[in-house]
């Protein structure tokens, strides 16, 4: 997880806590990217250590700031709760229970004109994050690469088709994670790439038969 020196000399962030402020802001921001539009309503559940120190570490301001699109070094982060009103974002913050989860876990539910996403993730120290579930599907996203999140029906050859579109566009796959709900049911594919896949490839993938949706999740700072 820490193969770059800038994960220990960094991130550059707004204080006070790299795991409870910076990491949480990044989880907020990546959730916004996953929703892929301006969020209108947010419901956030904080677990364990995060719940205990919620306001003290500015985790509330951090997560809302991230959802508004601020990065973890943005000096607007401390004013995010006030700015949310101006931006038309309503939100509720709750403390939750989740047995066996990482001590710094949170669940972010976002809504916008009927579209909803549920992102479950954890802040892993030093501002590093791990998104563990999107809408109930297991994923593994650290927010460091450009990723594609594709929902599709479980059918033979789909992954090959997606991979060949990426290959044709010169996009190298760094990591990939596929999970289906049941045989021939809905499946979730997360592909982390070394390059930004671009809107054209995104559209081409969206047009593949049995693909429900395809979103680009850019890296978060």
């Amino acid at each position: 997880m820490r193969e770059t020196i800038f994960s220990v000399i960094g991130p550059v962030m707004i204080g006070p806590s790299s795991s409870h402020t910076a990491g949480v802001a990044r989880l907020g921001k990546i959730s916004r990217h996953i929703l892929d539009r301006e969020p209108e309503y947010a419901e956030i559940y904080f677990f364990h250590s995060l719940a205990e120190t919620l306001r003290g570490h500015g985790s509330d301001r951090a997560v809302i700031g991230g959802i508004l699109g601020f990065d973890s070094a943005d000096e607007k982060l401390p004013e995010s709760l006030e700015l949310a009103g101006e931006r038309g974002l309503e939100f509720t913050l709750k403390k939750g229970e989740e047995r066996g989860a990482h001590p710094n876990s949170l669940l972010i539910k976002l809504e916008s004109s009927g579209e909803t996403v549920e992102v479950f993730g954890s802040s892993r120290g030093g501002g590093n994050i791990l998104v563990e579930k999107i809408n109930g599907f297991d994923v593994s996203l650290e927010g460091r690469y450009n990723a594609l999140w594709i929902l599709h029906l479980d059918r033979p050859g789909l992954v090959a088709e997606i991979a060949s579109l990426l290959a044709a566009g010169g996009i190298n796959i760094a990591f990939m994670r596929l999970q289906r709900s049941q045989p021939r049911g809905m499946a979730s594919l997360v592909v982390e790439c070394d390059q930004h896949p671009g809107e054209r490839i995104q559209e081409d993938i969206s047009r593949i038969k049995f693909v429900e949706s395809c979103r680009i999740i850019p890296p978060v700072r």
């Binding site: 220990v8 000399i9 204080g15 790299s18 120290g125």
Partner: protein, 291 residues
């Protein structure tokens, strides 16, 4: 085959390639991220700039912190010791003041460089910036010091998560003190074994340190602890310079820390459920807060 990143493999790589340990870190970074040497050094300078700015702001801050427990610590100390002589010595008090000022800036939701975390952000710059002033060292030496500090931090990162919630304060201020000691030793020209010895001595002394801040805020004891840890890092450098060494090798100290992290109870890992957070005064201070 890719080697595990340990103090031992780091030193062996330096010997095999006949390059300095700082150069090993730089080459590793180039290899693993695909960035150029120039970009890495530029990024290090940018982060040094952020550290200097947070120091400056922390030294002039006089507002009341979000938790109400801090105010003008950096400014007050600097003012006093510009007139009075410190018992710990000019170098030690300066490192402590710098570390406390950056810690104060962090507590006030100011912009800082996590090193390796926000709660411990004052320790490495406190030691390196004060030492560089004292010895009149420039950008290049500071970059070198940061590379060694980062290499040491990454050894820990391979074995455990560096956060109070996962490992207690030993994983934040403990690791930062070790990184600062290694970086400080490097600034004085001892970037190999001597730096690792300094890391070992500083880190070892903070094993088992709990994370129990009042109200869960990064205020008490965190900000002053940054000052204490910076002085310990300097002492570690002095002990190594004076010919002492760590009986337990640095890699084994990291193993011990990772083991201790698992054994520390959750109540003492950034949950405000025990220790200082549950003292009479600690509870009273938080009584009128709504979280």
């Amino acid at each position: 085959m890719k080697r595990d990143w340990t103090f031992q493999s780091w030193l062996e790589t330096a010997r095999e390639k006949s390059v300095s340990p700082g150069e090993v870190v730089l080459q590793k970074e180039i290899e693993e991220t695909g960035t150029t040497r120039e970009n890495i050094l530029e990024e290090l300078s940018l982060r040094l700039e952020v550290m200097k700015k947070s120091l400056k702001r922390g030294l002039s801050r006089e507002d009341i912190s979000p938790g109400g427990m801090l105010k003008d610590e950096g400014q007050r100390l600097q003012e006093y010791f510009s007139r009075e002589t410190s018992l710990t010595g000019a170098g030690a008090i300066k490192a402590a003041i710098y570390a406390i000022a950056i810690g104060r800036e962090n507590a006030g939701m100011g912009r800082i460089v996590a090193l390796p975390t926000g709660g411990a952000a004052g320790i490495v710059p406190g030691v390196l910036l004060s030492l560089a002033e004292k010895k009149e060292l420039g950008e290049e030496e500071l970059q070198r010091g940061l590379l060694i500090a980062a290499g040491a931090g990454m050894v820990v990162g391979e074995k455990m998560e560096m956060s109070g919630a996962a490992g207690g304060c030993q994983a934040e201020c403990g690791v930062a003190a070790g990184m600062a000691a290694a970086g400080g030793m490097a600034l004085l020209g001892g970037e190999g074994e001597q730096a690792f010895e300094a890391f070992a001595l500083a880190c070892k002394n903070l094993l088992g340190l709990t994370c129990d801040p009042v109200g869960g805020l990064v205020e008490v004891p965190c900000v002053k602890r940054n000052g204490f840890a910076a002085v310990q890092a300097l002492l570690a450098v002095d002990l190594v310079r004076g010919g002492l060494h760590s009986v337990i090798p640095p890699d084994e100290i990291v193993d011990a820390m990772a083991e201790t992290a698992g054994l520390l109870p959750g109540s003492l890992k950034e949950t405000a459920r025990a220790g200082l957070a549950r003292t009479k005064t600690g509870l009273k201070l938080m009584e009128n807060r709504d979280d």
